[in-house]
Amino acid sequence: MSWIVHNLWLVAALPFAAGGVISVMKQRQRTLAAGLAVGSMALSFVLALMAFVQVLTSHGEATRQFSNFAWFQFGAEWVRLGWLLDPLTAVMLVMVTFVGLLIFIYSIGYMAEDENFKRFFCFLALFAGAMLGVLIANNLLLLFMCWEIVGLTSYLLIGFWYEKPSAAAAAKKAFIVTRIGDLGLFLGMAWLYAQTGTLLFYDAGRGCLEANALTTLAMHTTVFGLTLSSAIGILIFCGSAGKSGQVPLHVWLPDAMEGPTPVSALIHAATMVAAGVFLLARVYPLLSAGVTHGMTTTVALQVVTWVGAITALFGALVAVAQWDIKRILAYSTMSQLGYMMIGLGTGGVSVGMFHLITHAFFKALLFLGAGSVIHGCHGEQDIRFMGGLRKAMPVTFAAYSCGMLALCGVPLFSGFWSKDEILHSAFVWNLSRGPFYIGAIGALLTAFYMTRQMIYVYAGTTRLAAESTHGEHGHSGAHESPKVMTVPLLILAVPAVVLGFFGTPVWPWFQSFLEGDTANVSFGALGGAFPLMIVSSLIVFVGLGLGWLLYGRKLIVDVGALDRIESAQPGLFHLLSGAFYINELYAATVVRFTLVAASVSAWLDRWIFGGVVRAISTIFVLFAKVDSFADTHVVNRGFDAGCGSVSYGGSFLSKLQAGKVQRYLKFVGVALFVAVALLFWGGKA
């Protein structure tokens, strides 16, 4: 086993260590903090490249290597952790460290004026460490721990400007909503452990993702006739749905845009949200366990596919009617994550992962471009106040266009190849054509809303100076961002354009790499996919054209002007811009229900349980009263004593609730007395 496999932990440990050191540094040491974070990330990138080369040069069985060790013992059981290097890990490592490195550098410029610069880099470095930990983990427990740290840093970074109430609320929302999903993941993990007795993914035949465990899991069925593997897989999917913003746990993702833009780019576009997809790719053997001759798919994969399809459509629809430049991208991210889920569910790991990788690059590019725009517009985020930025920010515009074209799936850009492959696999899915049609509509919408955004932001003349409320310091007009921000943009633009060529149907290098084969160039494969490629290109161009038709022909000049859809279909537009009122629905149902349940419990406690106690004492008192009435007026007064004792009983019982701690303690003592006495005397008899 090579050096890199043994020391893979360094990839995650370096940013962690940097974060730890930064945390104890002084607020003023900005250069050192940024240097440490960027330096650690660069080192991790180098290590990731080494790991990648290692996987690239190994063949067959050797492409999956792991290094396990015993962590601690409880009772007679040893908890074992480990790290794993396989093509999946290697690809993700390179992607995360590369994108992360660029975003770190970009942040130096973006956060330059923030007084909490040091804190920001501390959190970023911690996030990077945890995210890389998720990638290298060979144990679901280790993965879960890093997963939670990722969630925590996400919370910290969304709420980075915590003095803004909306940011604090968004952070809390993100934390709680993803926690709901993580509950599923935790249950799935516990169940998996209970069934297989290990949480190691690969352990020389004894891991939970290896043949032995999987056959057992696939053989047994549980409620609703689900196989165990599917049930556990669906629980794990809950976790990834929470992290990846899938319907119905998507509500946090748009709000998460309250955080600084590099955070949105790194965490909520390129890496963390992709961690959900990665997790599914990691446990794909579990999800697909039990695919037998008759069945080509499992329940778990169907769930993944349909949830992904719904999310893809939902996100694309809502993105059409947003005004905030980052929110549009956030809903777009949601939609694209849905695509990845479709790809994973219908086509397997390589299809979903390919889109994940290309998406990571072009979406990070788009977010950083958006950040550059916001930076250039002095903090303005509403696209209605922008416009005409093509001239003011030419570099940003050029890079942004690459990202936009890639996202839309314009032929030959990276997004085209990956999205096309998803559509293709959805098309040949033998259960239903539904996901395919949904995906196609989504693609159309994607092209449409991106065109809308581009035209709003870059075309025409500026609307910034006239109405901007944020243009402080007497700035007027937009300006290009500094080099430290534009250079990462340009670097990211390159893979956004060309990365797709690594996974074309002609030369499916990426897919073969993930499966451990070597790729061959075969033009024959193009023939099968070609008609569909034509169709999807057409769809994209229709979307672009529609956008042009609605927004580009007659440019918007006035800030207060209604959106073109709004003026045509106000009801539809409001439904979309309100994101189908899911938030309000939750507020009206889940949150309301919780509040009602709490007050019902309080009421129950106060009136029913308390009432019973009170009723008992009242009844005793009543008995006593009745008795004494009968006693004094009907029966001989000689019974006074008996009556008094009953009355005493009533007051005695009411005294039980006197609120005196010691009296409660006394009951415990008496109960102990009775219990021990019963135990011994009773046992003798």
Binding site: Q657, G659, K660, V661, Q662
Partner: protein, 103 residues
């Protein structure tokens, strides 16, 4: 060698002394002390059964006693903090005058 029964008797006696104190004292701090005493009595039992048990090499009783001591320390800290908070609110630590637990 002292027989096991004597240790158990001692433990029972200390437990009862602690219980009596906790039941009759009026000062919340002393009630807490009584409870600490009951915990200690239980620890004597744990150690005694470890020593006289069939498998003393496993150190189970000793471990249990150590954990119990740690928990008792935590309990004392939190308990005394609660007493301080209650005192600040009620201006007394006399349990006869504190009946906010009343239903």
């Amino acid at each position: 060698m002292t027989p096991l029964n004597l240790f158990l008797l001692l433990s029972a006696l200390l437990f009862s002394i602690g219980l009596a104190g906790a039941l009759t004292r009026r000062n919340a701090i002393l009630v807490l002390i009584g409870i600490e005493l009951m915990l200690n009595a239980a620890n004597i039992n744990l150690i005694a059964f470890w020593r006289f048990g069939p498998n003393p090499e496993a150190l189970t009783g000793v471990m249990f006693a150590i954990f119990s001591i740690s928990v008792a320390a935590a309990e004392a800290a939190v308990g005394l903090a609660i007493i301080l908070a209650v005192y600040r609110h009620n201006k007394t630590t006399n349990l006869n005058q504190i009946d906010t637990l009343k239903g």
